[in-house]
């Protein structure tokens, strides 16, 4: 079915989804998805609104459990019951709504849920100095003008995006899941985000990128997977398809490829 699996056989399989389905009551958001993600690969995930892209990402990140089907992680069957489980296996997420807390600073958002602490006697107190400094480094690395001490409340769309992406850089992830990271930001910031994806790629980090922007996908991805109404309708190496074909696959003008 997919030509990419053959091409990528040299790389180890990082994640292997077998027959994954997810229902919300009567809604079948995902129907029997088979898909492999190879280490260090950048895969584009495309599909119309409601196709099931976010649902798939939430399964990979441990936010949802599949209704049926199995996930193999580096060859072993694996269940992610909570987001922390995915994280401990080197999977980081940038959620579509960014999952930011407006009333906290950029640095505290970056470190949310894994705050850096230091001991003062028996007390564990926040190491704010470290968190501000480290967040500053990450923003500099991302070439973002975001300031660690600013509250997220007063930030632009691009800065908020940078905060959410910076969050994935705290550990050394093996796979970063990004849900529409370029949907709500300026053109200049889009190229920044794409630059970051390329940087992750060059460091051997895999990326699963959801985007509606065809040029983004063709600029950075090795492979593109298309979902339509919860079904996988294509899984192709980027060099073996075209923007027209992918558009057709998304809308249904092209049945399968």
């Amino acid at each position: 079915m997919s030509s990419s699996s053959q091409e990528n056989q040299s790389k180890p399989v990082f994640l292997d989804l077998r027959n994954i389905s997810k229902s919300f009551g009567a809604i079948e958001a995902l129907k029997g998805i088979n898909m492999q993600l190879f280490a260090g690969e950048v895969v584009g995930l495309m599909g119309d609104n409601g196709a099931g892209k976010s649902t798939l990402i939430k399964i990979l990140s441990g936010n949802y459990q599949p209704t049926s089907g199995e996930m193999y992680f580096e060859g072993h069957p694996q269940q992610f019951n909570r987001p922390v489980d995915a994280r401990t296996h080197g999977i980081e997420v940038v959620y579509q709504d960014l999952a930011l807390c407006d009333h906290l600073t950029a640095a505290h958002n970056v470190f949310l849920g894994r705050e850096k602490k230091r001991n003062i006697g028996p007390l564990k107190i926040l190491d704010n100095k470290h968190m501000f400094a480290r967040a500053g480094e990450i923003f500099a690395m991302l070439k973002s003008e975001t300031r660690p001490r600013d509250k997220v409340k007063q930030m632009s769309g691009g800065q908020r995006q940078a905060v959410a992406i910076a969050r994935t850089q705290l550990s050394s992830p093996q796979l970063v899941l990004m849900d529409e990271p370029t949907a709500a930001i300026s053109v200049r910031q889009v190229s920044e985000v794409l630059g970051l994806i390329k940087r992750l790629q060059s460091e051997g980090v895999g990326v699963l990128l959801i985007s509606h922007r065809m040029p983004d996908i063709f600029a950075v991805c090795d492979r593109v997977v298309v979902l339509r109404r919860g079904e996988k309708v294509a899984d192709k190496h980027i060099s073996q398809t075209s923007q027209d074909e992918v558009t057709g696959l998304i809308t249904g003008a092209v049945e399968r490829a």
Partner: protein, 336 residues
């Protein structure tokens, strides 16, 4: 100046301590409290003799606000998570009865205090589990608890007043009614709790998590914050402060009836909100709870001193709540 030093300069400029303070509601409430003191010292005279600006009246104010303020500290932690605890007044009543009953049955002071505190914690545990783990609305759960605790206080006390506090009576009365270095014990407790919460909010992960939950609960969940445990702890802490306040006030008054704490929830919530805690969540400070409860008491006391019919107190406190919240809205709109 290169790029990073410029941005650092901007950073420290926009985040200077002074700037932060001037932008905060507690700052303006403090100003209001000082102005109010000034006005009252001018008007608060009877036959040309100062009645407001006297040590007696000030220690009176300090006592009155501390019992409310202690609970406002706990309430602030709950409000920061975008929650509410309507049961604090009733929990205080039930805890007070538990303490009174235990002491008057001849048990020692430790047992009496433990009875009050544990009763309050049990209420907080039920509130917290129903809200965090079962997912019920804080308003409804704590409204139910308000009714339950008041009724249990009636049942347990059998509508009797407790005023004989057993073998350790003197010790118990001196805990609630005594002073330390001339400062009323309840005020000392209030100040210690303010410092404690201030420390927790600013320097611990627990504090960050309270703000994160109130700001965006689903984001907190997705990033791995132990949301349920943190919310439960906030309701436990709030009930604990109600229990502490109960023990202190019973010792100070020297008696307890099942009406203890009746309608206190209104004054407690008013104090927290006037002090800048936002019912939408994500905003609130320990100092705000302190200054908010001081201001509410100043308004009450001032009206009393000015000879205004006490029936008007609720109107003035109510107006102040609405005024404080409106002011906050206007300021946050202006700063974007």
């Amino acid at each position: 100046m290169n790029d990073t030093s410029l941005s650092k300069a901007i950073d420290s400029q926009t985040h200077s301590f002074g700037q932060e303070i001037i932008r905060s509601q507690p700052f303006w409430v403090t100003i209001a409290a000082i102005v109010l003191c000034f006005v009252l010292s001018l008007t608060g005279t009877t036959n040309g003799e100062q009645v407001f600006f006297t040590p007696e009246n000030f220690s009176n104010i300090a006592l009155n606000f501390s019992f409310i303020g202690i609970i406002a500290i706990g309430m602030t932690a709950v409000i920061i998570t975008a929650g509410i605890d309507l049961s604090v007044g009733s929990v205080m009543g039930l805890a007070g009865i538990a303490t009174g009953l235990t002491l008057s049955s001849g048990y020692g002071v430790e047992a009496g205090i433990a009875a009050g505190i544990l009763t309050a914690l049990a209420c907080g545990l039920v509130n917290g589990i129903l809200i965090s783990y079962i997912g019920l609305s804080p308003f409804v759960v704590t409204l139910g608890m308000l009714s339950i605790c008041r009724s249990l206080a009636l049942v347990v006390s059998n509508n009797k007043m407790f005023y004989e506090f057993g073998p350790d009576e003197d010790l118990f009365l001196s805990i609630g009614g005594g002073t330390h270095l001339g400062v009323a014990n309840s005020l000392v407790v209030m100040l210690v709790l303010t410092i404690f919460l201030g420390f927790m909010l600013n320097f611990t992960a627990w504090g960050r998590h309270l703000y994160a939950i109130g700001s965006n609960e689903s984001a907190a969940t997705m990033t791995g914050v132990p949301v349920k445990a943190v919310k439960l702890s906030a309701y436990l802490f709030c009930s604990l402060t109600a229990g502490i306040s109960a023990v202190m006030i019973v010792g100070w008054m020297g008696s307890v009836t099942n009406a203890l704490g009746m309608t206190y929830e209104l004054r407690v919530i008013a104090s927290a909100v006037i002090g800048g805690a936002d019912l939408m969540g994500g905003v609130g400070t320990a100092y705000g709870a302190l200054i908010g409860s001081i201001l509410v008491e100043l308004i009450r006391n001032g009206l009393l001193m000015a000879g205004v019919d006490p029936y008007w107190q609720g109107t003035f406190v109510g107006l102040f709540i609405i005024f404080a919240v409106a002011l906050e809205k206007i300021r946050s709109r202006r700063s974007g």
